[in-house]
């Protein structure tokens, strides 16, 4: 049924809208863009922050004593609204000036320069002076962790990070501490991230409008290693990079830049340019075998088998269950993530083949993720102190490197990844989207289990962006395989709570910490609250998959060769040693 529309007047234009709309949304329908700062709404997802606290979106409503925040004021019939009256402009400008008066003046060297929402706003409001300059500035605690940099002096108290951390991720690390002018957003008692159960998902960074929360930058270290003649530097870009990197160079969201990415990495001076997609295919071989083995035990009537098996590719998700569900550590798959599998193989199989000593080999992953920075530094993934993956840089860091190296990315010719760790299938490519790991696993599990070729290669049921939890039932030769896909940690928590309560009857569960999976990762170009960007990236993922000759991991010839030459078979002793890990109780309570 069509909802009854209501009429109101905004800046002398009559507008007809649905009654549940806010003034901000109503104004947008007629091309009036009211400035906002604290507000973020990734439409259709749970990524939202609407505290109406920055007060920059205030508008004048006839008959109202004071100005109304457009982001949180609902439209009512006959409302007469001014978004640009002298009173509004003056108030808005004063508020921006107040924010500036408690914000460091170091835009030129700020990591968010040109990507800063406050900076854009100040330009838009035509602020040319700092009238409250010289007032006291709030002093807050800063921190540099392995993945995230907190420079809270820059915090403008929009509280997006707090909303994400609590409502979207249910991790609850960030909250308001102290009152009034001295308020800060921090862990309880102003603790450090390292003393909390922060998962380093980085979604706080992804939504921070200013430079208060940013990724830890490893680009200088990377350039030092590349220019070191003694070192062999190997690149492995994650699946999700190629669907988003182009945005940093003005290309349309959703442009697939796989070929340009390989060229750019070579131009930057990487000695070998491989692909984490290869690691993804390898993950499916191992995780798929694990799924099949647990299923077989289940079918054989083994009551002790732990089901559902849960994916373990997402490092923030791994941190999450190690922190919060230490009693359920035998459920997730023991398979390492694609990036770590790649590193383990590169530093053994490939290094031996090439005759490169481990200490001279530097494996750098390029990830859409900040938790990967934490993951590759874990002790489990080191051999005699030497990490399988030396460090991880984000999509944004790679873009900065490319710009600094005078490379016109958008004009680069395409090239292929190096062999043998560069070959991949469509199954590896779809790891970038929520549901992708599940779909890739199903393609292999189905064919290995049934011995038949898949009639329909796409598992549309597990794809999606807006639903937080998706379920599907797959027919495996008469056995009904129940699977579930969840993204964001609050949805993961729902699954885990049900598991703990013994009320979960799935066989396989995929979890990704970021909204939409890795395409919405915290290391990706900023989406600034625009859901269309994530949608475009998601379309690109499946488009890349469709275009691949090989779309099932077990058909990857280089993978087959790796098993034949080195690993034997999935879950062999060697594979177990190199490609699997164990989890530990890291609860802080």
């Amino acid at each position: 049924m069509e909802e009854k529309k209501i009429q109101l007047t905004i800046d002398r234009h009559v507008v007809e809208v649905n009654p549940d709309m806010t003034l901000l949304e109503a104004a947008k329908t007629i091309g009036i863009e009211i400035p906002t700062l604290c507000h973020i709404d990734l439409k259709g997802t749970c990524v939202q922050n609407k505290p109406a606290s920055c007060r920059l979106c205030v508008v004048e409503v006839e008959g109202r004593r004071n100005l109304a925040p457009a982001c949180a004021t609902k439209c009512t019939p006959g409302m007469v609204v001014y978004t640009n009256s002298a009173r509004v402009i003056r108030a808005r400008k004063t508020i921006a000036e107040l924010i500036l008066s408690d914000h460091p003046n170091d835009c030129l060297t700020c990591p968010k320069c040109s990507n800063c929402e406050l900076q854009r706003l100040v330009m838009r409001l035509n602020i040319r002076e700092m009238p409250f300059n010289g007032g006291e500035q709030s002093v807050r605690k800063n921190e540099l962790t392995v993945a995230i940099k907190r420079n809270m002096d820059k915090c403008i108290y929009c509280r997006r990070c707090e909303s994400i951390c609590n409502n979207v991720q249910s991790v609850g690390v960030l909250g308001a501490v102290r009152r009034g002018f001295n308020t800060t957003i921090a862990p309880t008692f102003d603790k450090m991230f390292t003393d909390t159960n922060c998962t380093y998902c980085g979604q706080c960074v992804a939504v921070c409008p200013v430079g208060a929360l940013t990724e830890r930058d490893y680009t200088d270290q990377l350039m030092r290693d590349i220019t070191d003649p003694d070192k062999v530097v190997v690149a492995q870009p994650a699946p999700a990079i190629r669907y988003a990197l182009g945005e940093e160079f003005g290309m349309e969201p959703g442009t697939v830049v796989t070929g340009k990415l390989a060229t750019a990495l070579r131009d930057l001076g990487f000695d070998y340019v491989f692909d984490t997609d290869f690691g993804a295919d390898l993950t499916i071989m191992e995780e798929g075998a694990e799924i099949l083995s647990r299923l077989q035990r289940h079918l054989d009537g083994d009551k002790t088998v732990k089901l559902p098996i849960m994916t373990s590719c997402c490092p923030a998700w791994v941190n999450f269950y190690e922190h919060e569900f230490p009693d359920l550590l035998d459920y997730p798959s023991s398979a390492k993530s694609p990036g770590q599998m790649f590193g383990a193989i590169a530093k053994t199989y490939w290094a031996e083949k090439m005759g490169i000593p481990r200490e001279k080999l530097v494996v750098v992953s390029i990830m859409p993720c900040l938790a990967k920075k934490f993951e590759c530094a874990r002790d489990e993934f080191k051999v005699d102190g030497n990490p399988d993956v030396d460090y991880s840089i984000s999509t944004r860091e790679l873009a900065r490197l490319i710009k600094r190296a005078n490379i016109r990315f958008e004009q680069l010719p395409d090239s292929d990844f190096d062999s043998p760790l560069g070959e991949s299938t469509g199954a590896g490519a779809i790891f970038a989207a929520s549901g992708g790991v599940m779909e890739a696993a199903l393609r292999t599990v189905y064919e290995v289990h049934t011995g038949k070729t898949l009639p329909h290669i796409n598992f549309e049921q597990v794809r999606g962006l807006e639903e937080g939890i998706r379920e599907a039932t797959i027919d495996l030769n008469g056995f009904e395989l129940k699977v579930c896909v969840a993204h964001t940690l609050s949805n993961a928590r729902k699954i885990m709570d049900r598991l703990r309560a013994g009320k979960l009857d799935y066989h396989v569960v995929e979890v990704m910490a970021c909204p939409g999976g890795c395409i919405g990762g915290a290391g990706q170009p900023y989406h600034h609250g625009n859901i269309e960007i994530l949608k475009a990236r998601q379309r690109a993922v499946y488009q890349e998959d469709e275009g691949k000759k090989l779309r099932k991991s077990h058909e990857n010839p280089d993978i087959q060769k790796l098993y034949a030459e080195f690993l034997g078979k999935p879950m062999s002793e060697k594979a177990h040693h190199l490609l699997h890990t164990s989890y530990h109780d890291k609860s802080i309570h």
Binding site: C54, N66, K74, T94, Y157, G175, A176, R179, G180, F181
Partner: protein
């Protein structure tokens, strides 16, 4: 639990009424004769104030001593000592009142107990020295009826304070307590009760003045499995203690009103949000709740109807912003005490997401008596738009500090000069601050403003919750504005930009001005920034926080200009603007000032006039206090 029926309540009322009748009658009788056992008075009562203020002055020891002396003299069967709530005349506390002759003893000490009992209770002779002295006539006044402080007051919300024993439910029942509830439950529909509330014209006493009946009506319209009635007892204005006194002196009136409200809106759950630093009020409420439960007044099937209700107490940590209803609700939920945007109003989504009605203590205290005496009675008191009375905590440079209740429409002049007895020490009246940190500074020209919501707002202040602070010529208006802003800066939750940063900048400018570093441009900024904060802040705290600044700028602009242009603080409050000099004519060169100067700013030889080095002087005033020859001058 047993069910208490309306007939049972009636029985309790009748049996308890005798003791109360004595107090009620003596309150209306006008007798100058003093009573005592010697004069043939068969039964006497001694009412002793047990409010926080008088208790701090050992009123509980007075009660102990009175009881001891009475027992020692074997008259315990004829004389009763009752601890009551606040009488209001805190300036002269602790108060002891003798019934039936209505003698009003002031500033009583525990040592006076013996004399009161022996001379007055036994001998029938008043203790003259403990009587109130009328400053106008210099004569002793024995009876509160004849005191200016009480003459213009009309005690409705405070009707039981100073009259009943707050820890004895029967005293309350004797005063028709719980009858309004009983009648409402058994004879009226919720709609009828809401209608009476609407007709009475009662408006919220917490500050905003929203019509109470309408609020209840809204809360009634929302359907949910649970609803909540919340009593906002988070009184936070500096110097205000209206709500505290009501809870200490008449806790049952709050409980009864919450139950009536619960009946009207369809709620069975009451919550009282009270600050933990009100221990006595908390204690009295807990006693009252316990007694009401024991009698079957709180619980299920009240008065044999299908209405059930119970009350829980929730403690606040004393944040001013938690008086704002959404912040209060969040605080009760265990979250950070921060306001959220309205709508949705608590009536739609409040405590734990359920429909919630939040009323202030004083508002609730008015409810039972409105139902007992009728909407017409209540609406006959007050002005056209503001009905009934308002309780104020009168404080500052005024002779009669205390708690007063006056009909709406009483002028500021009547309150300050008639009830308050004028400005202390014969100084000149300068300003009165109503509404606490959210209110404004009003001047001489506003003194004839009748007190009601609209008039005070029109004058640039507000009703607020009832703080009223009087200032004299020794008060610097810039410093006063600064004081209030320091308070709001400290109490801001920090959520919205204008309040978090804007108030801080206002305070910085004011500080600059009091240090003589202000500019005329600063005065412009104060005004424009203050107006923007009012216009854009999220909640009531921020929207009213610039009021002291804006009203003082408006009413005392010259004083600001003096600070800025001439670097003078006429009240002598802004230390940085003072200059200490030594009059060479008066100085005898004794050296007392030099010896006591903590910053070595004074030079001079013995028996020769000394001088102060202004660059070293820290303006502590030590020299002035030590000079025996009045030689130190301050400009």
């Amino acid at each position: 639990m047993k069910t208490l029926y309306i007939e049972d309540l009636e029985k309790i009322r009748k049996s308890a009424q005798a003791a109360l009748l004595l107090r009620e009658q003596s309150d209306s009788d006008n007798s100058d004769e003093s009573c005592g056992l010697a004069c043939g008075t068969p039964h006497l009562q001694l009412l002793c104030c047990g409010g926080t203020g008088c208790k701090a002055s050992n009123s509980h020891k007075i009660v102990e001593n009175l009881q001891k002396v009475i027992e020692d003299n074997g008259i315990a069967d004829k004389v009763e000592v009752v601890t009551t709530g606040c009488f209001g005349f805190c300036e002269k506390g602790p108060i002891v009142k003798v019934i039936p002759d209505n003698t009003f003893y002031t500033q009583v000490t525990p040592e006076d107990a013996e004399e009161i009992v022996k001379s007055h209770i036994i001998g029938g002779k008043r203790v003259e020295r403990l009587l109130y002295v009328d400053p106008k006539t210099d004569k002793h006044v024995s009876d509160s009826k004849h005191m200016d402080f009480y003459r213009k007051q009309l005690r409705i919300a405070l009707r039981n304070c100073g009259l009943i024993d707050p820890e004895n439910i029967e005293d309350y029942i004797a005063r028709d307590g719980y009858m309004a509830l009983a009648n409402a439950l058994t004879k009226q529909t919720p709609e009828e009760v809401i209608d009476i509330m609407k007709k009475s014209g009662l408006r919220g006493r917490g500050g905003a003045g929203f019509p109470t009946g309408m609020k209840w009506g809204f809360a009634r319209t929302y359907q949910a499995e649970k609803k909540y009635v919340v009593c906002n007892a988070d009184e936070g204005d500096p110097g205000a203690f209206m709500d505290r006194s009501i809870m200490e002196g008449d806790p049952h009136s709050v409980i009864e009103a919450m139950m009536i409200c619960g009946y009207c809106i369809g709620s069975n759950n009451g919550l009282i949000y009270i600050r933990a630093e009100y221990p006595l009020a908390v204690h009295r409420l807990r006693v009252a709740i316990k007694q009401a439960r024991e009698l079957g007044l709180l619980g299920s099937n009240i008065f044999g109807t299908d209405f059930s209700f119970d009350i829980e107490i929730r403690y606040g940590a004393g944040a001013f912003v938690c008086g704002e209803e959404t912040a209060l609700i969040h605080s009760m939920e265990g979250k950070r005490g921060e306001p959220t945007l309205k709508p949705p109003f608590p009536a739609e989504s409040g405590y734990m997401g359920y429909p919630t009605n939040v009323n202030n203590v004083e508002t609730l205290a008015n409810v039972p008596i409105i139902l007992t005496k009728g909407a017409d009675w209540f609406s006959s008191i007050g002005t056209e738009k503001s009905k009934g009375t308002k309780v104020f905590a009168l404080a500052g440079k005024i002779n009669n500090v205390g708690l007063i209740e006056v009909p709406m429409g009483t002028t500021l002049r009547e309150i300050i000069y008639d009830i308050g007895g004028g400005v202390k020490n014969g100084k000149k009246f300068k300003a009165v601050q109503t509404g606490g940190p959210s209110g404004g500074l009003l001047t001489e020209k506003h003194l004839d403003t009748p007190i009601d919501y609209e008039s005070l707002t029109a004058a640039g202040s507000m009703m607020g919750s009832g703080g009223m602070i009087v200032m004299d010529e020794d008060d610097c208006m810039v410093s006063v504005a600064k004081f209030y802003l320091e308070f709001t800066c400290e109490e801001s939750c920090g959520k919205c930009t204008p309040c978090r940063i804007g108030n801080k900048r206002l305070l910085e400018i004011l500080t600059r001005i009091t240090e003589g570093k202000g500019t005329m441009e600063d005065l412009e900024t104060l005004k424009s920034l203050g107006e923007t904060i009012k216009d854009t802040a999220l909640c009531g705290l921020g929207q009213t926080s610039p009021n002291p600044v804006l009203s003082s700028l408006n009413n005392f602009y010259d004083e600001y200009v003096e600070h800025v242009k001439k670097h003078i603080c006429r009240a002598g409050q802004c230390k940085a603007l003072l200059t200490y000099t030594i009059s060479p004519e008066k100085c005898k060169g004794c050296g007392a000032c030099k010896k006591n100067c903590p910053s070595d700013a004074i030079m001079g030889d013995v028996r020769k006039p000394h001088v102060i080095n202004p660059y070293k002087c820290i303006r502590c005033g030590m020299c002035k206090s030590r000079c025996k020859f009045d030689a130190i001058q301050v400009f």
